[in-house]
Structure formats: C-alpha cells, structure tokens
C-alpha cells in the first residue's frame, strides 16, 4: 500500500511501487485531467506538480511520490497563479483540441511560481518540454504573459 496526497486528499493505492503516477491518477483514482501522450517524458501532456515542482507523471513511479504533495490540473484552481492561468487560457482562446493544455498549464504554473515576470526566452525555455500538435504556441505565450500581468508580474 502506497500513501499519496493528491490535491490535498490522502489516497492509499495498492499497486506495485514502480507504477507510474500517470496511470495511477488516471486508471485507479479516476483523475483523467492528466493526459498520456508519450510515456517517455517527451511531450509534457502528463505534467503534474510534486511538492510544487513540475514533473512528468508518466515516468514518476508512485514510490517516488509517496508522502509528497501531488497537484494535478483538477487541483490547480485552489491556487491564485493556477486560477489566473486558467482564466487567461479561456480569455485568449488558447485551446484547439485542448488535449495537451492541462500539461501546458501545469508547466506554466510552475514557471510563474518560480519566475513571476518571465521573459519570452524564459517562457519558451520552460514550455519547451510541452508539445502542442495543434500549434497553439503563440497563444500560450500570450496567455502566460496575461496571467503574469494579472499577478502583478507584467512585462
């Protein structure tokens, strides 16, 4: 039995310790907002926060997440930065198919917490691990800047 804390809620799961956090969230706990895209930390669709750091849940075994705070897209709205990003995403009309956007927003939230006033280069760098096949990159940049501005970090 492995004890996880997900979005502030304790969850005990009876799975082998090497099971990736991604599939534990999606298949066992039912939090499907975290997406599968590649399984090799190449696309960022599965990004969650582990003690505030953005990690790729597809290569994070649950044994490594035990007794740490996991935040997924479903829990991001409890945080001001998260709410600002989600609002900016809607306002700018970022999503096309939308599948990658949970991971994009999780990466952006980790960036803004670390760097409240990111430059273009810092945004590109922080988001380079997140693929959007629909090609919403220019709008993602705009939304990150808009959220940063709303948070008082205008550039």
């Amino acid at each position: 039995m492995i004890r996880l804390e997900i979005n502030g809620k304790r969850q005990d799961v009876d799975l082998p310790g090497e099971t990736p956090l991604l599939w534990t969230l999606r298949d066992e706990i039912g939090l499907t907002g975290t997406k599968f895209g590649c399984g090799m930390a190449l696309c960022g669709a599965c990004t969650v926060h582990l003690d505030g750091q953005a990690v790729r849940s597809c290569i994070t075994p649950i044994s490594a997440a035990a007794n740490k705070k996991v935040v997924t897209i479903e829990g991001l709205g409890t945080d001001a930065v998260g709410r600002a990003l989600q609002a900016a995403w809607v306002d700018v009309g970022v999503p096309q198919c939308g599948y990658c956007q949970a991971g994009q927003i999780m990466s952006a939230a980790a960036l803004l917490r670390r760097t409240p006033k990111p430059t273009d280069a810092q945004i590109d760098e922080a988001m380079s691990g997140n693929i959007c096949r629909c090609g919403t990159y220019t709008r993602i940049r705009s939304a990150v800047k808009q959220a940063a501005a709303k948070q008082g970090g205008a550039q």
């Binding site: 799975l15 999606r26 298949d27 809607v90 939308g98 599948y99 927003i105 090609g135 709008r139």
Partner: protein
C-alpha cells in the same frame, strides 16, 4: 482539354468512395465506364455527401421549461472549434441568448443529423445553411406558440434574445414558458422560413464568443476518448505486427499472464489486403490498468510472419520514385503541346522535390472503449466519422448498425487519423471476446507512429521552358506518390482525381502548354488522409519551382508568381481537368485567380515585402488554392552562421469567403502555420525492413515552442456577404507554409531546399 475517361470519379466523399469500392472493387480504380456517366445528375456540396444534410429543428434543438436551449452538434470537435461554431449559427437564427445555450454532442446517426464525416474542411460550408434553417424554424415555432397564446396574428410578434414580444402591447414571454407549446407546433415548410438579414446577426461573424469547452479544457474536466471509464472496465494494449501485412505466427502468453494486474491475453484477428479500416491484428493484453497491460505486452512472446512488405525501405523507395518521375507517365492534363514549345523555348529548367511519409501524431493517441449488453453495442471515442465507425463496428461484429451506438467524445487532435476507426474495431472485438465486458484499448505513442495511415511519400518532378524574358511557356509536372486508394484497393497505383485535384492538375496558370503526368507508384503501407493531404507535396513543389524560375529570370518572386497566375479571372475547374473540385459545384466554386492574387498581394503587403533585411534574413512567399479557399503565406526567416534557422514572423492571408467565427479562422491558420513548419523542418516517417524507424517524439520530431514564430499574423479577407460561397478553413492553411519557408531560406542564404524535412540541411 479533354479529361481522360478515368478521371471522371468526381465528387466522391471518402465514405461513399469506400462503399463503392467494397461493392465493385476494381471497377472504380480504373474509373466508371464513360457510358455510365451523365446518367445521374452530379450532386455537389452537402448534397453529394452520404446522407446529405438535415435541417429539422426537432433533431437539433430542444428547449427546457427553465429556458435552457440545448443545441446538438453533429460534427466532431477536434480543435477547429466546431462545437462553438455550429451551435452559434443555430443560436443566432433562433435569437437565443448564448449564455442560456447548452451543447450536446450527437452520437453517430446520419439518418437523423445528416452527414457527420468531419473531414475535408467541410463542416461550416456544408452546414451553415441547414443550421440557419434549423434555428429559424425553431424561432418561428416559438413565435407561433406565443401568437396562439395571446390570440394575436403571428405578424405582430417577434422573437428577440430569448423571448417573444407582442409588438403592439409590449407583452413578453420567455422561451422556457413557450417551450412546450412551441414543440407541438408543426415545423414550418422550408420555403416559408424567414431567415435573418445578416446585418442582424448577433454572433455569426463577430468572433466574440469564447469556446464552449474552453473552461473544461483549462480545468481538466474535458473528456476525450482516452478518458472513458466504465464500471468493470478492462484496460487493453495490443502488440501489432511490426510490418504492415504481417501476422502472428505463434505466441506464448504465459509470462504476460504472470504480470500483476494482467487478466487475459486475446488474439485480435487481422485482415488481408487491402487494409480498409480493419485492425491490423495482433495480440491484446487486458489488465486492471493501462500500465499493467503495457507491462504484460512487454512480457509476451510472439513470433511474427512479416508478410509481403518486409523489404519496404524508404531510401530505396525514394530512388524508385525518382526513377519513375524521370520517365513519362499517365498523362492527366495536356494543354497545348509541351514538347513543341520546349524545342522553341529560350531556356529549360527542371527540379525535383521530395516529401516523406508523415504521421498525424495527434496528442491523444488512438483510444476507444466498447461494451456489449444484450446484443447492443456501445462504443466511445474521438471519431471523425461517427457513422462510419458505427457501420464498420457493425460489420466487424456481424450485427445491425441499429444495434450499435457510437458516442463521440472530444478528439485529442484528428488531422485525418480519426477518420479511420480501426482502433474502435479493436475495442469492439475485444469486448466481444470478453463476453461484452467493457474494454478500453489505448495505443501507446509507439503504436500510433508504427500503425498510422500515413501521409503518402512523393517525388514531384517539374520542368519548364521559358521565353527570352524568363516567362514560362511550357510546364511539365510529374507527380509520383502511392495513392490513398491503395488502402481500399490493393491494385491502385495512380493518384485519384481527388489527389490530382489537390494542386497538381488544377493549377490556374497563364501558361499555354501544360502537361501533367502521373506515373505509377505501389503502396507498401497504409496510406491515408493527413491534414491538407496531397496539397502538401504538390503545393511545396509548385510554389518552390515558380520561385526557382523567378530567380533564374532575375525577377522578384512575388511579381513573378502573380505573372504566372495571370490576370484576375474565373477558371472552370473542369477546364483544368479537375473533375473533383473538393466536391463542390464548378459553377459556384470556380478557381478564381483574382482571389488567389489578392491573398498573395495581401500577405506580401502585410509582411512588408521588399523591405531591406539584414544579412541572414529573408522573406519568402507562396499562395495555394485548396478546399475551395485561397491562402498565402509570407514567411520571414533568420539563418545564422552556423545554419540555425529561426522564423521571427509569418503573415498569412486567407480568403475563405464569409466567416462564422473569425477567431477560429485565425486559430486554424496559426495552427496550420505551426504544423506546416513542423513538417517542413523536422518530421519524417521512414521505413527499414518494413518497419517504421521512429518510435516516439524523440525521433518523430514536431515543432516545440522555442521554434515557433514569435508572431503569426492572420489577415482575413473581409467576408460579410453571406450569399457568397464559403470555403474550408481546417486544412488549407498548411500547404503554403513549407514553400514560403523554403523560398525565404533561399532569399536569406541562397540555398534551395528540395527535400523535406530540412532538419540539418542548413548546418555549416
């Protein structure tokens, strides 16, 4: 010119085409006998699609007593914004308050809703009018109900923003209060409908509405096919033959069954060529979660029989395409006399262009869930062709389509891949093998890249003879590429009319001698529709070659391109040998060189064409007509001393006729720009010993944010005249990007790219 008889396969939709093939096999591949032509009046647009259109408000609109208006969206949402755009049309005519509108996704049921094949960039142009009529009819039913209630002539009442007003007295009734009475009104006849004056549109063309799914997407609540969860569901992954056409020789499930969480191992039956939409077969591992299934698959021991395609090799195949492209092939258009013109011409130029196989690589890998209860089959997933999925599942399981329900979720990207329901058939077969238990099949990224219906691979051979001023007097284009038809008829070796009509045969150029040839090519894998389809290689070759001719003539590439297109005029697609014309009427949708010129001029002007650029910078331009829309792109590049390419800015001009949701037109152009840059710079699927060499995003690369242009500016040619024909939006933005980019690279560096992807071709 005369179109050869075997080019007469006009206006076939994908599904009708396939249905036709399954009935008559070879006959279609060599064309209808000419005697049978003309017997049936050709149908165009939505009329020409399977099950056409429906404009019955009872199928699309319902109103609850609390006033909530529910509008059904029958087209699949894959990022184009159709779940916002289509209901917006209905709501506008209905005079509904958008804040009180809910959207419901239709299951696959074309008898009820009309055609649902969400492909070919067709949704808005085919359903704008039927959806307007739906909304208008529902509005008139509300008005009639109110007039009855007040016992006044219907001419005295008017529906406005979710209520009906009695004009003389100012009395009002909300839509909720009228809902029940309105539902019992008869649906007004089509010729009595009063459509709004477009000046009164509240939503259409305004672009102020947010995406209906935006909030759910941003908060993780949006549900895609892969998110389906049913009680007692098993999670499956499938080991498929590594070579297309291969099959399982033998397998041993023992080790897989030892993996914790694995419950069953089941063989999935494949099929013989042609591939159609059938699963490729293989061995499925069913488990309590996806990870256990993946681990179980790793432990399987399978011996494969690789079958007839085990020597498919992209390097040798490219050489064979080049060899074919250098010899005469089937003539598919012949204006004037190319050979005679060449002998008299001042100079001759030629070039060849290569575009490799591509995979759609939707961010959501293929996934579908199926369950069978008391003989009733239910399937969930992201399908571009809900009715096609339904029909194919029914056929696979040997049941009636009436017993199959296809629930359509959001699609995590489509790009043509989800037009093929092979993954749904896998889920249905596995559920059947498990006595109807719910089974979700999930493809890994490796499965996705190894088992796609790939974009074709092509060599485009172009020759031109020019006069003393460098103006082309003769044009030869040989296009060689395995055809999508091979997926439905293993013998097919020539491009179909719908492929030739994507920018190779229907070039509207002011050149007196034009010969288009199509030598044969044999497919060794599953070839399928990929966003923009054959327009990608054709547009790349044609727009690159014209720029090469401009350089040879010492002319400005934009001016030269406009000169090759010639003066503004409307050209019948039939005159160009194009019997297909994207399924649209040649009268209503002629090829309009004036519109093509205008987007090129607009993109050039907005990009500051002709401005002085620093060393290592360049501007390139290209214009392409596809999906009955006109798009031009002006790309600015910077190439540093080490050969590192960046794209600071792209200007795109689009003329797609009148628009419903201009913000989504913009977003589709932005996305098309990124996808165009992806395929131009990075992406390639290659085969070795019949196996795809790329496993994941480390080898099949797509554009990431740092490589995205800083600025993509989209210039929409104003389209407020809703009597004018609409064009497509989802696909036509892609084709001009690669040639505009490569033309810009030439301007910046003097290096001409003729083979995609560029990858490290610019490296010093």
């Amino acid at each position: 010119m005369n179109a050869p008889a075997d080019l007469s396969l006009a206006n076939v939709s994908r599904r009708r085409f396939i249905q036709g093939l399954s009935l008559s096999g070879l006959v279609l591949a060599v064309g209808y006998p000419s005697a049978s032509r003309g017997q049936e009046k050709k149908k165009y647009g939505a009329d020409g699609m399977p099950n056409g259109w429906v404009d019955n408000p009872l199928a699309f609109v319902s109103i609850a007593p609390d006033g909530t208006v529910t509008i059904v969206c029958h087209r699949s949402e894959m990022g184009q914004g159709i779940r916002t755009g289509m209901p917006m049309i209905v709501a506008d005519e209905l005079e509904a308050d958008w804040k009180r509108v809910k959207i419901e996704q239709a299951p696959g049921d074309e008898k009820k809703f009309g055609n649902q094949d969400t492909d070919g960039s067709r949704s808005t142009r085919h359903f704008f009018e039927p959806m307007r009529r739906c909304g208008a009819a529902a509005r008139m039913m509300l008005e009639a109900a109110a007039a009855d209630r007040w016992k006044v002539p219907v001419s005295e009442v008017e529906a406005k923003n979710h209520e009906v007003i009695h004009k003389p007295s100012g009395r009002k009734l909300g839509y909720g209060a009228l809902a029940q009475a309105a539902a019992s009104q008869s649906v007004p006849a089509r010729d009595t409908l009063r459509l709004k004056d477009p000046k009164q549109f509240r939503y259409i063309g305004k672009g102020q509405l947010k995406l209906v799914d935006g909030r759910d997407i941003a908060t993780g609540k949006a549900k895609y096919g892969i998110d389906t969860r049913l009680d007692g569901m098993l999670y499956a992954v499938v080991a498929r033959p590594p070579v297309y056409g291969g099959k399982v020789a033998s397998f041993d499930p023992a080790e897989a069954l030892k993996v914790p969480g694995v419950e069953r191992v089941v063989e999935i039956e494949g099929s013989s060529a042609p591939p159609m939409f059938n699963p490729v077969g293989g061995v499925a591992v069913l488990a309590r979660n996806t990870y256990a299934a993946i681990q179980g698959r790793r432990a399987l021991k399978i011996t494969w029989d690789d079958g007839p395609n085990s020597s498919y090799d992209s390097t040798t195949y490219k050489a064979s395409l080049e060899e074919s492209a250098r010899k005469p092939g089937k003539v598919v258009r012949n204006d004037g006399d190319f050979d005679a013109a060449v002998t008299k011409a001042a100079k001759r130029h030629q070039a060849e262009y290569y575009v490799p196989h591509l995979a759609h690589a939707t961010m959501e890998p293929m996934s579908a869930t199926a369950r069978i209860v008391n003989g009733k089959v239910e399937v969930w997933g992201g399908f571009q062709s809900p009715q096609g999925t339904r029909d194919n599942v029914a056929k696979r399981l040997g049941v009636s389509a009436d017993d199959v329900t296809v629930h359509v979720t959001l699609l995590g990207g489509g790009f043509g891949r989800r037009s093929k329901p092979d993954f749904a058939l896998e889920a249905a077969s596995l559920s059947k093998a498990m006595d109807g238990k719910p089974v979700k099949v999930t493809w890994t990224r490796e499965d996705d890249l190894h088992n796609s219906y790939y974009h074709t691979v092509s060599v485009e051979h172009l020759e031109a003879a020019v006069d003393a001023q460098g103006k082309p007097v003769a044009w030869l284009h040989r296009s060689v590429a395995p055809t999508i038809i091979s997926t439905f008829n293993a013998e097919a070796k020539n491009e179909a009319p719908f492929e030739l009509g994507m920018g190779v045969i229907n070039v509207p150029f002011a050149i007196p001698n034009i010969r288009i040839e199509n030598p044969e090519a044999t497919a060794h894998t599953r070839i399928g529709w990929f966003r923009s389809v054959s327009n990608i290689p054709h547009g790349f070759a044609v727009q690159s070659f014209i720029a090469e001719l401009a350089t040879a003539a010492g002319r400005d590439p934009k001016d030269y391109l406009l000169e090759v297109i010639g003066p503004p005029r409307q050209v019948s697609p039939e005159m160009l040998g194009d019997t297909w014309n994207h399924g649209e009427s040649p009268e209503r949708y002629p090829v309009d060189t004036g519109r093509l010129r205008r987007v090129i001029e607009t993109a050039a002007r907005e990009a500051g064409w002709g401005r002085k650029l620093p060393k290592g910078r360049g501007l390139g331009i290209a214009g392409h007509y596809s999906f009955v829309s006109y798009i031009a792109a002006a790309v600015e590049v910077a190439v540093d001393d080490k050969g590192t390419l960046t794209v600071p800015r792209v200007d795109m001009a689009v003329d797609c006729g009148p628009t419903v949701n201009p913000d989504r037109v913009r977003s589709q152009m932005e996305g098309a720009c990124i996808m165009g840059l992806s395929l131009a710079t990075l992406s390639e699927i290659s085969f070795k010993s019949g196996r795809v060499e790329q496993d994941n995003f480390n080898a099949y690369e797509v554009l990431r944010m740092p490589a995205a242009p800083r600025v993509i500016r989209v210039h929409i040619i104003p389209g407020n005249d809703y009597s004018k024909p609409m064009g497509g939006v989802g696909e036509p933005g892609v084709p001009p990007i690669a040639p505009a980019l490569c033309n810009a690279i030439f301007a910046a560096t003097g290096k001409r790219i003729r083979q995609l992807p560029i990858r490290d071709q610019l490296k010093a």
